[in-house]
């Protein structure tokens, strides 16, 4: 399938910006090399406050590497990354307080209860005393886990675990939420519940959301803005409608395949 004529002339513009909007995530000319291998080859984008931003790409495209750099797990080779105005290379701890993250693989301690997992997290983020207990109860109730807070996490279903992980990521009231494949492995009810919660967070509390997912119809429904990365470069940015218009496709799934090719990636 060949790309429509105007795709090659697509210029990589950096996201919609309204005057005075706070840039929560801003990436400029980011490069990451591992020895001779270039995983991320000069990408730039911005996520303004209150946006739900979907970062999509095939396996091995550079998605995970980018997220790791944004969340201070890796250092970039070149370029600048700012989270809420703070340079990730310079103010690592301050940056870490700005965001919560839900990893693709479970990062809970199975041997502890839900409550204990959250207490531990509270210590890591400096939540003390009354505020700690109040926040733990608040997030557990919000995600319908309060009744089973003292049960060991090993007894939780996948859906419950994911809810607990999201609850945990919000404990320190971060302004940004990173979600790495949040709905992977979940049943439809839990998935729908999850996105409802995320949307509510975004709409009511203005939390900026940065997500990756392979469920493109979800990205289409939930995301305000989308960037597609492939081979370490951003091949397209825009709203779901922009991308569909661009590729003359009716679903984001099809637009994605047009933009990244239909060969299977082994990552």
């Amino acid at each position: 399938m060949s790309l429509p004529k105007n795709v090659s002339s697509l210029s990589i513009h950096e996201g919609p910006k309204s005057a005075g909007t706070r840039e929560m995530i801003s990436v400029h000319n980011l490069v990451k090399k591992f020895g001779d291998v270039t995983a991320v080859a000069d990408i730039s984008f911005c996520v303004p406050e209150g946006q739900i931003f979907a970062f999509l790409g095939p396996n091995g495209a550079g998605k995970t590497t980018t997220i790791k750099i944004l969340t201070t797990m890796l250092r970039c080779t070149e370029g600048s990354v700012r989270i809420d105005g703070l340079d990730v290379a310079v103010s690592q701890d301050k940056v870490r307080r700005c965001f919560g993250i839900v990893f693709q693989d479970s990062s809970l301690d199975d041997a502890m209860s839900a409550y204990e997992n959250l207490s531990f997290h509270a210590v890591l983020y400096g939540l003390k005393g009354q505020r700690r207990y109040a926040r733990i109860e608040e997030v557990l109730r919000r995600f319908d886990l309060w009744e089973r807070r003292d049960e060991k996490v090993s007894k939780y279903s996948t859906g419950m675990r994911r809810r607990l992980e999201i609850a945990r990521s919000l404990l320190h009231t971060p302004r940004i939420l990173f979600l790495d494949e949040p709905s992977a492995g979940l049943d439809p009810q839990t998935r729908s519940y999850l996105w409802k919660q995320v949307k509510a967070l975004n709409e009511n509390e203005g939390v900026t959301v940065f997500l990756t997912t392979h469920y493109l119809e979800e990205a289409e429904r939930v995301a305000d803005y989308i960037a597609i990365i492939d081979h370490g470069k951003i091949v397209a940015q825009g709203t779901a409608s922009n991308l569909k218009e661009l590729t003359e496709m009716t679903t984001l799934d099809d637009a994605f395949v047009v933009l990244t090719g239909s060969s299977i990636r082994d990552g």
């Binding site: 969340t71 201070t72 797990m73 890796l74 690592q92 701890d93 301050k94 870490r96 307080r97 993250i101 990893f103 693989d105 479970s106 990062s107 809970l108 301690d109 199975d110 041997a111 502890m112 531990f120 997290h121 210590v123 890591l124 983020y125 400096g126 003390k128 945990r168």
Partner: protein
Amino acid sequence: MGVIYAHWNRQLKSYLHSGPRIVSSIVQPIFYLMALGFGLGRTFEQAGQGNYVQFLAPAMLAMIILFSAFFSGIELLYDRRFGFLRATMVAPVSRLSIMLGRTMGGATVAWIQGVLVFIFCTLVGYRPVSLRTVPLALLIMALIAIVFAAMGTLVGSLFTDFSAFQTVTNFLAMPFFFFSGALFPLTNAPRLMVWGAMSDPFAYGVDALRAVLNGTSVPFGLSLDLAILTILASAAITGGAYLFSRIEL
């Protein structure tokens, strides 16, 4: 500070809440003590070396601490593999505090196991030379625990899969134990083995405990033991902290 305590507490709770783990973990030195101490006891005595159970017991305390502390490093691998570590590494806390909490937690669990083995030894007839030396022995046990817990963290930071860790354990922890003079008096051993023991960190721990608990004269001497163990503890903690801080997830 709270971070160190939280990690320390987590290790401790995980151990204390697992009854089967507590019992099974101290089985090994008990078996050694029973089989060798009583099995080989008479032969040992006939060779003029005294009571074998008395000779073995301090080494058995050290043994459980060595293996338990070193294996606390494998928990690091486990947490790495199954994700828990990632959540802590992305938090606004220093890697050093995480490492110290984990290492001290592993050392504390190992120390507790040493105490349990000590109690068992006294139940089968072992007697320290004097009760007044027991507090010092407990301190030495703590020092040994710290040395090997830090070493376990160091090794755990180097590898990402369990099999590599197991290999290292077999080629490090096992030789540490067997060539330290834990099971036999070094004074009668071939010179090569004595030299081997001199470069074996564990040998100094065994030596120190024997000196303090049994009151007998020992090949290395208590002062040397304490000096070496202290240097090793500092080196292992420094090396472990450095390597732990370099982990990429």
